[in-house]
Every structure is written in structure tokens, then in C-alpha cells.
Symmetry: C2
Subunit: 408 residues, 2 copies
Amino acid sequence: MIMKEKITVGLVGFGKRGKSLLKNILIPMTSMDIEIKGVCDLYEDRARFAADYVRDAIGIEPFCTTDYRDITSMDGLDAVIIMSAWESHIPVALDAMKSGKYVGFEVGGGYSLDDCWKLVHVSEDTGMPCMLFENCCYGRREMMVLNMVKLGIFGDIMHCSGGYHHDLRREISTGEENRHYRLRNYLNRNCENYPTHELGPIAQVLDINKGNRMISLTSSSSRSQGLHDYIIANKGADSPLAGVTFAQGDVVTTTIKCAKGQTIVLTLDTTLPRAYSRGFTVHGTKGMYAEDTDSIFIDGVHNSFDVKWKEQWGNASQYEEEYDHPVWKEYKKQVVGGHEGMDWLVFRAFVESVKAGTQTPIDVYDTAALMCISALSEESIACGSIPVPIPDFTNGRWMERHDSIQSK
Amino acid sequence: MIMKEKITVGLVGFGKRGKSLLKNILIPMTSMDIEIKGVCDLYEDRARFAADYVRDAIGIEPFCTTDYRDITSMDGLDAVIIMSAWESHIPVALDAMKSGKYVGFEVGGGYSLDDCWKLVHVSEDTGMPCMLFENCCYGRREMMVLNMVKLGIFGDIMHCSGGYHHDLRREISTGEENRHYRLRNYLNRNCENYPTHELGPIAQVLDINKGNRMISLTSSSSRSQGLHDYIIANKGADSPLAGVTFAQGDVVTTTIKCAKGQTIVLTLDTTLPRAYSRGFTVHGTKGMYAEDTDSIFIDGVHNSFDVKWKEQWGNASQYEEEYDHPVWKEYKKQVVGGHEGMDWLVFRAFVESVKAGTQTPIDVYDTAALMCISALSEESIACGSIPVPIPDFTNGRWMERHDSIQSK
């Protein structure tokens, strides 16, 4: 297959995230190798905004619609990029693959195993790749730690943890006026609703779908209190949301077991006050990394009983020169703009795959495995934290699959 | 009841921990209000060492035996203090209570629910208190955070975590020559074998047995690799332990649910390289504390999106002057010696209870609730991480019980 010089894309979804990606990632890429042929949002004002924004930025007005099927069925499109509400990712993706288009979509959890299987089946049947834009897989620290893991610095990895520790009380409680999908999800569901930061990077560390797989999980939820208290304190007892009951517990802990004996602990922690963290931790037989202290411990270099361990807080930066991932070393050379590195890198990886006509680095099996955690967590919590099996979306091929996403 | 000026004690168990407590805590207390009447260890050399040590230190040689029943049945003893192997804590405690003596014993997990219930029944039948010496309940930071929780600084507490993150590979792998009980436990069992640091302090934060209780848990274990690799690297492939299989997984994650809707995550992490931590975290609707960064986040004082959060690492020390627990403020005035504050304080609390003839601050219900986690974790892991119920050792009285251990 001949490498394309430029690809044509249709974009779906222009809420806060979609607008930000349009401005910071997609418009800048039009001067490189993408052509924005169509834009869509369920809300006309958002679709219109996007069309106008593209026209003002590059002088060409894209096709504009409120029906995503106009985009997925559009002739001459190479790829559809989906940045809309969580619930729409899979339906839009299925339609786009059926129309022979590459699909990339923003992160979010799945709602049922059935939806995740459909993603796999349609991708297999159509031969079209489908990539979750898990930007944290391209985070600088995540990639450095992955690089160190692959070099054996931490030994055999036995345990990883991560989470989405992000105070979203304001965003959720203004969901009505901002038409934000999180509100309805927090009102109605109780689960690990946003597992893929930091499960994406952990899946790479543990070779998930490439020699290892996740086999089961248990999930437990605290009760819901943070949003209610926030609404009373900030919007008053007369606010429309003051009397409602949120289904979503404040903290959800999910423990995953892997075929090769590792455990993964995921935490969803979005409705209590705190500083942002993804709580990334990788622990092996020779050392560990912990994001919260941004520190690296290497057996023999550091002393387990060193009472001055606090002096090592933040020491991970000392390892950047030697161990920054090749992708980041390259990126740092090229970059002049101010865009977030990991968003740029995850979109570049997708675009390069579409141009080359190759598989995406995060493929449909990875996408399904990461997204199914939400549905399974919901099931486990609903049934009193019972262990539930995690499907093998590769149907056994994980034992022989290779080529970890970032080893190339 | 008249307050005793001095109490008589018999001591059982002089391994590493017993020797250290004898030297640093018990001998210094002989000049205050305790009299060491008897010492015991299963191993004659250790018992002899203790008797000689006491004689050399205070000029009076205590009764010395290798049979703990000689101590538990000894006339004129007020209390028996047990510092022996985990498996012996409950049998010795039961005998001592049956002989009308107060019992205090070192931390460790239980082996069966039956043993924990026996502790409760015998204490109820004999009227003799039984206290787990959970020293971390008296840690300075733990008490400061507890104080802040009781003052409402963190709002309603929704989630806590803690663990025993302590590289014990050397201690465990030299267990044969050092006659250490950990070795046989790591060879034969797979569970959260040491839950009470940090569950003790968390139980106080969450009012366990005093208005709240733990209702169920799930537990998951990684495979065992760290000890094997350590033994091969440090003792060679010919070492007697090189070929054995350790039952104990490297990292065990246990998630506990409480009657009032909180969750607790406990981690056992003792066979991989790392710096020591008890990973204490308390997260409420108004803020949080995290031991690993020794930091406090208070809603409204700190900004969730503050990109300079790293500058707040270690900020907990700024809260000491205002929020140090009264027990610690008092202790700091008195202390001149170099002994570990929390060991001193937990032993003082026990001795004061014996002198006054009152209930111990950590009572038999607390002791049973903390210890049962090991047995239940073992069951959950054995059955594929199923949720298992945690008994209500108070038989319903938790709803009306008050007086949290450190509120007096």
C-alpha cells in the first residue's frame, strides 16, 4: 500500500473536549497532513461553531450536520474521529467501520459487554481498525516508566495501580446547563466509569493482549456524598439538583487480576476535593515508580530503610535523560508549539496509521479490553462486589500477539 | 475501684520485637509503675536472656519459664503481655483471661473467625479486657489526622486506605536461622497477613464498633515472585529456600465496605523492594490527608487545579501546632528519652487501664475486628476473591457504643 500524504477526516462531537482538540490538535494538523471534510454535533450550535471555526482557521468550510450518519456514510473520508458523549462512541464507531472508515474515539468506559464485542466483531468483519485515543499511554512519565519496564529496570512487574483522581464536582453539577454527559451518568450509574486513564498505560506495562490478559475483577463503591454536599454548599438547597440522589459512589475501587499473576488496582475518585493525580504506580521485583511522589526506587540503589526517603520525592526527573521514551525524545526535538504532548502524540499515532493503511497502535482488542472494565465494574458492584470474568476479546490470540504499542 | 500505684506483669515472647520492647519500653516503665514478675519464651535461651536482662537492669530476677501456662496461671499477676509469634497470641490470651488477668498482645492477624470469637467470648465471660497493641493508633500523624477528622476538617469521610509497605525479604528469608514465624506463614498462607497497621488508625477514623462497622471484604493477591528472586540473588541457587514455593503473593489488596457506606483499601506489600510506608490516606467531602506525600488538602484552601501541588508535598507538618492530638501534645512535654513515641503511648494506655481497672482503649471487639481481616482475606483469595462477610463481634451493640479510643 502506498503511504498517503494527506488524509480526509470527519469529526463528531464538539463539547468542551471536542472544541479543545479542534483548536489545539486538529487545526494545527491541517497544515501537515489532514483535511477536515465534515463536522457534526447533535446540537446545531456546536456543529455550527465547529464549521465556522474551521472556515475561519483554514479558509475552507467543511460539511456541517447534526446527524452523525451523514459523516459516517460520507464519501471520500479516510477516518472518523469521535469526541462526543461516552454513550455515542461505540454506535458511531460501528457505523463508521461499516462504511470502510478508520475510527478513532475519545476515552470513556463501555456500557455493556455486548457493545464491546460488537466493536471487535465489526472491526474484524470490515477489516477497519478502531483506536481508543488513550492519551495517557503517551504521557511523558508513563512512557518513560514503560521504557524502563521493557529494559528490565524494575524486574518482573507484580502490581500496578492507577486512577482518575480528579475533582469534577463543578463540571458534573453544571451538567444541565453545559449539556454534559457526565451528569446523567453520575445520576444513574455506579461504576468505574472512567477506567482508561490509568489502565491504558498499565495495560502496556503488563503486555495486555500481547502475552498477558486481564482475567477477572472485583469492584467496590463508597456511598455518594461529595456531589450532594458540593451542590448544597455552592448552589443552595433550592437548586434543582439539591434533592436528587446520585447513584455514583464517591470512590470506586476495582481490583483486576491478570493471567500472568499480576494485580491492578484502579480508583475512580472524582467527587471529593483533592489535587489531580492519575496515581500511576508500577511495582516489580527490582524496584518501583510512584506518580504521587514522582519517585523511583531501585533495589540496591536506594535503601529500603533509608529514613531520608522524602529527599527522593521527585527524583524521577533525574531519570529522564537516560530513560525518556524514544517517542518523547523525538517529540521534544520537533515541538515548538504549546500543545499538550500526549494529546498530540496519540492523534499523530492515529493519523500515521491511517496514512500508512496499517493497524492502529491501540487496536480494537485493546479498546474493548479497556472499555469493558466500566460495564464489569457496574456488574460487580450491583452484585455486592462479586468477582466477574473479563472476556478474552482476542479469542486466544493474546498468547501469540506481539508488538507492544510503543515498542516500534 | 482504687487506682493501683503499680501493676505486676508477666511477659511472653522474646524474639526481636519482644527484646526491643523489653529494653526500650518495659524496663524504663519499671521505674514508674510496673513490676516484671515473670518472663517466658518457648526457646530457653530467649527466656534466659530476658530473665538475665531484667535482673541486670533492675536487680530483681523474674520467674523464668518456657511454658506460657506458668505465666498465665501465676498468682498475683495483674496482666500478661504477649510478644510471641502470631499463632500464639490468641491461645495465650485466652488462658490469661481465664486466670483473671488483663491481656495485651502485639499485632498480627487472626487465623480463623473461630479464634476471634473465642477471644470475644472469653473476655465477655471472664470480664477481663483484651487489647491489641496497635501502636500505629498512637502514631503522631495518625493521631493528628484523627483529631482533624473529629473536628470535621475533612468533612464526612468516604474512603480510607493504608497498608504495610515494608520490604521484609531479608527477615523472611532468614527465618530459619532466626526462628522467625513470618517464614512459615509466607510459605504456607496467602492472605493480608498483617492488616492492623494501618487498619487500626482507619478504624478509629471511621468509628468502627462505635457507630459504624466493617461489613464485607474482597481480597486479591498477585503471584509470588519477590522472595524467590531475592533468595536466588542473595543466597544462591543452592540455598535451601531456593527451590521452595511461597504461598504468599507479593501484593495483596483487600477492599472493605462499612455499614455507613465508606470503603477501605488495605495493601500488604512486603516482598518487593521499596521504601517503608503505611500509605495512610483519609478522604472526605472537605479534604484529605495522604501519608505518601505527607500532605493535606483542604477544599477552599487548596485549589484542585493548582499545578504547583508538588510544592504542597510535606505540608502536613504545618498543621502540627494547631492540630496535633492532645495525647501527643502532652507526650511531647513529658518525653526526654529516645523511645519510639507510639510504642510508648500504646503501652502506657494499657498500663493505665490495668491500674485503673477499666476497659482498655482498644478493646476485645476492636481486637477481634482488626484481626479477623487476615482469616477473611485468606478465605476470599482462596475462593477467587469472592466477597465475604465480616462478623459483628459486638452483636449489634456497635450502633450504641461510643467513646472512641482517643477521645478521652
